[in-house]
């Protein structure tokens, strides 16, 4: 399984920088997104993850940090975290 780690600050600029990497890493198998280092995350990254999750292989968020979980729940996107268990 491919793994891609998110940086501490997942703001708009970081999302823009990581977007291509995420697109290229997606494939038929789920892409593991390591969210353990995330300290700050905004709408831009969350919606990229939602879109990535709809791709063929989807994504699995692994070891989400507390900041990631809080932001996902705030945005009503906690199913992204639930995908960890999937």
């Amino acid at each position: 399984m491919n793994t891609l780690s998110l940086p501490a600050s997942c703001d708009r600029a970081a999302t823009k920088a990581l977007y291509t990497d995420i697109c290229e890493a997606l494939g038929p198998a789920p892409l593991a997104i390591d969210a353990s280092a995330v300290e700050k995350i905004g709408q831009a990254m969350l919606q990229v993850l939602v879109s990535a999750n709809r791709s063929d292989g989807g994504i699995v968020v692994t070891a989400p940090s507390q900041a990631f979980c809080e932001a996902a729940k705030l945005a009503g996107l906690d199913h992204l975290i639930a995908s960890e268990a999937a």
Partner: protein, 739 residues
Amino acid sequence: MNDDDIQQIFFVECDEALEATEAGLDACKAGTHDDETINAIFRGVHSIKGGAGAFGHEALQAYTHCFENLLGDIREGKVELGGDLVDLLLLANDLLRVHVEAARGAGEAPDDVELMKRLEQARPGAEPSPQAQAATTGADAFPDPLDDLDALLDELAAPEEDRSQDASSQSAAQLKTVAEPETEPEPDPWLIHIRPRAGGMANGSEPLLWLRDIVALGGECVLCDTQAIPPIDRLDPEQGYLGWTYRLPGRVERAEVEDIFDFVGEDCALAFDDDPMPTVDVPDEPQSTPAPSPSVASSSAPDDATPSPVASAPTPIPAIPAPAPTKTAAAQSASTTPQTSQSVRIDLKKLDKLIDGVGELVIAQAMLTQRLENESFAHIEELAMLDTLVRDIQEHAMAFRAQPISSVFGRVPRLLRELAGNTGKHVKLDVSGETTELDKTVIERLSEPMTHLIRNAVDHGIETPAERTEVGKDAEGTLTLAAEQKAGRIVIQISDDGRGINREKVLAKAIKNGLVDADAELSDDEVNQLVFAPGFSTAAQVSNISGRGVGMDVVKQNVKELGGRITIDSKPGEGTTFTLALPLTLAISDGMIVQVGDQSLVIPLAHVIESLRPNRDDVKGLGTQRQMLNVRGAFVPVVSLGAMTGAQGMVSEPCKGVLVLVETESHGRAALMVDAITDQRQFVIKSLDAHYRSVDSVAGATILGNGKVALIVDVDFLVQSSSGTQGIAPSCGELVDAA
């Protein structure tokens, strides 16, 4: 524009809001306020709160929330605005300024615990706020507005089976946290639909921050609309695609939630209750699927590709109250656009580049004129047209940088309050001419010398209340600030009604410090000027306000660096007036170009009254070296510019040259003797300090049309030197050689 740029705009707006609140509170203090004054203060604090929330400055947001609560009560007439309350609000405003500076990164956030407690206590029958409660326990210097959110998030993070419990019990649990009286029926909850504008993130908008504020009010996410998110290969990571529906408890007023979006402007559209979710405005992204109505039923779909429900089994919402007229933030903005689009913020660096460009244009125009004159085209129409256009552009460019001096005067009340706290001297402030405009750089650099002068006036000038009462004065001293435009310069006066300068004491101190000889005979003005000498202080004890003997020296240097002058007028027992004469602008001015021997010099036109070629009878000798010119019955001293420059071949007799009659700020009129007047035009002022070094009799340098450097004469200094005991600066001949 990145997030930092946008945040800088927020801080600029904070400064503006603080000026507005300070001015409003001063009006309250003076008793000249009305309802609109209170509204303006409220708006100022409210806008800072909105921005603080948007940019995540939680301490600032918590503090402004507390401040705003009290202002809201005052606005609604629940609290009477008395003298003590105004003092409390002034203190609160001072602390707000410190909070803003801390958010800006200048120092630590202040300890606001005690003041927030006082603000809460000033509210009518208000329960202490969570913040104030935290203050009383001393648990946290800054109540974390996320505390409540953390609790909710913990609840949401609980195991699935716990979360799937009946939502009504969740709601009840939330209601318990706000301690609503159980006897009162809970109003029905209501819905808000939030649709950030697709391009809003590019403006620095972060919708999750708004959601956090909604959660803090007790809001609960019902639905996240993810339908607009395109496949990953067609997604633009800088566009926003999400929308949310939040449910809020009935006790929360709609206005409270709308407040969160005040600062958001056009970056978000809102709808309420059973109105549809506003649609996405993603450019070039076809809306194949109509935006879903935020019906609860649609949120139960578990498919990832559909709106994501937060609760797996949403509870039917109780009977929704009759929908109020829908008013989206975007619609509100649209209706106000014509009023708000009248100004534009420009980065100061861009403006400075424009000014520099205009300066070079002025020089290039002078060179072109010179070139055409050499070719006998000096009077062609196009040249006159160009001259007019360049002058217009220059004036407009300078106007961009002009700011009212009220931005400096507006900080003085706060300074006086601080000084009152330190010295026990309560001082009334009398201000006039605060709309006088001058260059932004002058304004910025004026703040420091003015602060020194005001501190000095209160600390040394104004007596203690007991001393004042003893000599029959009002126990409260008065500080007067006045500004006016006069003879092409800005004149600022700072006056106090204190004891005045004790000249005997000043002279004794100067003699003791070796600044003057013991047998020196100095005029009153010369004694006054001694207070500007480096290291001079008559204060018996060094205080933390003034008295270190560096302040007044720095004041003179700062004013001189601005191309200005400072003079003192003091009357024992009546008070002291400091007069600052400053140039309107630091960049371009009008001047008379004169020839003295083999040198060209520039006399600033603001000083020039007239020029004349005198008859032999008009000039009288005074002693062996000085000459006086009879100008229609009044005698003025003749000052030879040639003596200053050390130029070769200049005229030595007034009747063979030209006398330029000039006016100075403090030394009356004088006639500057030159060989000839060669031109009158705009010139670009280049700092001599930056390119060579400071020389007393020279205000700067400029580049003439022929490409040569010409010195700009410091008329005030020259006339002062010629009338006093000092000789004309001997170093100028050397300077001309260097130029």
